[in-house]
Every structure is written in structure tokens, then in C-alpha cells.
Amino acid sequence: MWHLITAPVLLPFLTALLIMLPPVHYSPMRRRWLSMISSAIQLVLVVILLLQVQQQGLIHYAVGNWQAPFGIILVADTLSVVMVCLTSFLALGAICYGSAGEDEKGSFFHPLFQFLLMGINGAFLTGDLFNLFVFFEVLLIASYGLLIHAGGKNKTKAAVHYVVLNLTGSAIFLFSLAVLYGTLGTLNITDMAVKVAALPAEDLMLVKAGGLMLMIVFALKAAVLPLQFWLPATYSSASAPVAALFAVMTKIGVYALLRVYSTIFGENAGPLAGMASDWLLPAGLATIALGAVGALASPDFRKLVANLVLVSVGTLVSLVALQTELSAAAALYYTVHSTLVTAALFLVADLIANQRGKAGDRLVSGRRVSQPILLGFIFMVGALTVAGLPPFSGFVGKLMILQSAVEPVSRILLWSLILLSSLMVIVALSRAGSTLFWRVSGTESGGGKAPPLQVFAVIWLLLASPLLTVFAGPLTTLSQQAAAQLYDTTTSRNSILGQYPVQESKP
């Protein structure tokens, strides 16, 4: 059981290799089944891992038995394992959806999907900044392949922008890692926190520059305001199951921001404590506003959902900037909720587009959908959830967020922006819904019925919303525990670096 923490990384990796080998590779059904079964197993394993972390507290695993701070370690605390659980849950839904036919529109859908999962899980579990870079690259190169899956002009155009931007981001990431390694002499996140706390004054500005460059990289991944222009085009042009899984990729940026700025540059960092908040709070709030306006202005439903992703990213980044335990707990709950619901909405957009003939998901009058009751119900649940109306999980999430803003200034800003943006999202969604379902011409529907597997996948993702509400009590406790563990740097330091005395920083 000690090696269980490596399972979320190794299992997708081995599955991807197996899918590419002859007995499986030549049969579409075998590829699908293997992919689905593997992600179901992964979901079970990470839930076991979560229970283990609940019992034993933080677990760390030295890869190749090279102990921290010298080797690479994997760290499983409640926060990272909850994120991995979320990814596995989402991946299962997305793979089911893709297996209904979307995967055969191009080659290597399932292997790339599994490699993407490996990268995402690795990025959540790693305890080393350079290893984080490596996992970022693993997930990025898989996402490049998935983005142009099924081909087409729009996808190629979006992919060029996405790839160039992310390569630039990787270059900046490496610059900042070099600065931080040159001054701190380590890349282990926990060890860096120790070194930053005892930083000599002459290195202060260098570390600050390195830390802020890191913020640029993570903000690019998360799509925060000045760096968000790639997101709507990329997410709306990707095929539906890919866009659904991409919904968790922005959250990796948010997770990395939370991890780095609350551990390395947290309370103990002396003059560097909370250095990112001054930048992140305005950027996050502006992202909320921009996302809400973008949602109102979207010409098609997929762009609208992509803008909803922006709203959720802005909310999360503002919460990260607040840097309190309460806000981190609210952020974790909201991450789970918003990722699942936006992913589900991407799938719903595809279902609707498939049934409206030529009009697709554009917000113009078109043919009627062939399953108005089913799709209408799914759309309504998704819309109510994402807008944050009771009784669905968005309401609980927004309530936690509003409660977590304690200081007067942040409270005024956050409350007004979140409530206003919710209103704008409701307006945008009701406009979209009435156009898609009611402004119909003719009596013929534009396509056949949705395959049962796709309907199952959407319901699987949307089911999380009522569950998140029903089990809101235990889940808020869980996210509060995760936040407490995140800010309890002493315990994590003792458990990870326990055997080694704290060394002087490098001359």
C-alpha cells in the first residue's frame, strides 16, 4: 500500500502504452473498454488513497528512494488527493462520452487522453518544482495532440496560438526555476519554504523576481486576465470530451498558485510573504468581470461555457489571493463544483449541437432538438448549478466564498463582483437556453437521438452537483481539513524533511 501514491501516475501511463500495443490497438472496442476500465480502477484507487491520507495525514513518497530534499518526492496531502479524485471522476465521464464515437474521428484519442491524465495527476502529486515543470510538459504535449483531434481549420488555428503561448510559458517557467535554484539551492517545495524563511537580504529581490515569474506562468495556465485570450478560442474549438477534461487544466494553474504562494511564500516568508496577492486579487476580480461580460456576448453556446470557465478561474484566483484558511477551503469546494459543472456543460453543448442540424450550438434559431425534454432538463440543471442557485452545489460554493471574505475591502469587492457576475451569467444562460430550445423553425429535428453512453456521461458529471449539496457537511469539513493541512507548514516540513537538519542556504 506504500506505493499506492504512484498509482495515479503509473496507471494511466501503462494503460496508454498498452492501448498502443497490437492486441488492443487494432480494435476500437478494446481500446474503449481498456480506457474506461482503467479510469474506473484509477477512481477506486485514488478514493482509497484519499481514505489513507485521511487516516495517516500527509504521505510522501521518495521516488527511487532518494530522500528529500535531494531526490524527487511525491506528496499526497488532502488538497492534492482531492484534486486527483476530481480529475479521475471527470476523466471517467469524458472517456465514456468520447467512447460513443467521438474517439474514432482521429487517431490515438485514448492513449493521448491517458497521457494527459498522467500529466495532470503527476502535477497535482509532485512535491518538487522541476518535476512540476516536467509533468506540465507531459500534460501539455498530450493536450496539443488532443486539441487538434478530429482536425479542422478552427482547431489548427486555435492550436497554433495555444502551443506557442504554452511554449513561451515553459521558457519563463524555466527562467524562474533557474533563478530560484541559483539563489535557494533547492527545488523541493517544502525545502524552498525553509530556505525562503532564512533568506539573506541581498538575495531578496532575486527570489522575488523568480517568484513573480512563476506567478506569470501559473497565471497563463490558469487563464487570468491579461493572459486569458487563448482560452475561449481553444476551449470552444476542442472536441467535447477534450474540452471537458480541459476544464480541469485551468485549475492546475490555480492549484499551483495556491501551493506555491501559501507554502513557499506563505506566512513564514518574512518580507516576501503574500507578495503575489497584490497582483492576483485585482487580476482575479477583473477576470470575473471579463468572463461575465464575455458570457453575455458569446455568439455560441460553447464560447459561453468557455467564458464561464473564466468566471470560475477569476473567482478561484481571487480566493487564492486572500491567503486565508477559510478562503482556501472555499476555493477547494468551488474548484470541485465548477470543474464538474463546466465540463458537463461542454458535453451538453455538444449534445445540443448534434441535434440542431446546421445551426449547431450557435445562438440563432435552428431546427428543434430531437430530445427536448431530456436535453432541456439536463441544460436546466447545469445552468442552475453554474449560476449558483439553490438547491445545487453552486449555491453552497458561492456561500462559502462570500463567507470567506472577511476583510472589509476584499468583502466589498468580492461580494459585489460575484453577485453581479452571477446575475449576468443567469441572463446569458437564460438567453442561450431560450434560443436553443424555443426559437425553432419547422417541426423536423436536426439529428438523431443521443447515444445512451453520452447521456450517461453527462448525467454522471451532473450527478455530482446534487451529491455535493447533499454531502455538503462532510465535504466542507474535508476542504477545511485540506486548507488547514496546507497552511500547517511545520508539520509537513517535519514529516518530509524530518531526518535532515535544516541546512544553511547556499553561499
Partner: protein
């Protein structure tokens, strides 16, 4: 040595950024390659520049930090793969979109030139 090294990295970065801001995909690819060279050199220098220092303990008086070397190696491999992918993607974009501009369409000025011809 440090000054020369720093100037080299600075020059490479400047060239890279300039090329990346061009409108066609080929200069952008070249710019990214330049930038990744600059990054690799910079990463290497984070272990300090030492002359005649082995990365193995006990063989010389002075020794070099082996970790940045390992990091650079990883970064080179990843950068190489990414550049290869980007080149293929740029060719694909040229075929799909009918031109080699990053935005997928010719800018206004070139369009009018083409029409007047």
C-alpha cells in the same frame, strides 16, 4: 567569463523575443528555439560557472553542481520535442489555412496588395 555569458543569454533572449513577435509562423518557431537556447544556458548557469570542475565528488578540488546539468538535459529533450511538434503544426496550419500567418489570415495591408496585383 560571467559578463560574456550573461551578454550571450541576453542577446539570445532579445533575438528570441523579437522573432516571436513576428507575424509568420517560421520566425515564431525560430524565436522559440532561440528562447529555449537562452533558457538552457541560463539554467546551466544557475549552478554557478566553474572552470575545470568535475561533477563527481573527490576527483578535483573544485566541483560543479550536477543538478543544473541534469535539469538542462531534461529541458533540452523537452524543448526539442516541443519544437518538432510546433514545426509540424506550423506546416499543418499552412496547409489548412492557406497561409503561414499566426492568426490564420493575411493582415489587411497584404490583402489589399494582393488584390491590386
Amino acid at each position: 567569463m560571467e559578463t560574456l555569458f550573461a551578454c550571450c543569454i541576453g542577446f539570445l533572449t532579445a533575438c528570441g523575443v523579437f522573432l516571436m513577435l513576428r507575424g509568420r509562423t517560421f520566425p515564431v518557431v525560430l524565436g522559440l528555439t532561440m528562447l529555449s537556447y537562452a533558457v538552457n544556458l541560463f539554467l546551466f548557469s544557475s549552478g554557478r560557472l566553474t572552470l575545470r570542475g568535475a561533477a563527481v565528488l573527490g576527483t578535483t578540488e573544485q566541483y560543479a553542481d550536477p543538478l543544473p546539468q541534469a535539469l538542462v538535459l531534461t529541458a533540452i529533450v523537452i524543448g526539442f520535442a516541443m519544437t518538432a511538434f510546433l514545426v509540424i503544426l506550423a506546416i499543418r496550419a499552412r496547409a489548412d489555412l492557406g497561409n503561414d500567418h499566426v492568426d490564420g489570415k493575411l493582415p489587411e495591408s497584404e490583402l489589399s496588395k494582393k488584390e491590386s496585383r
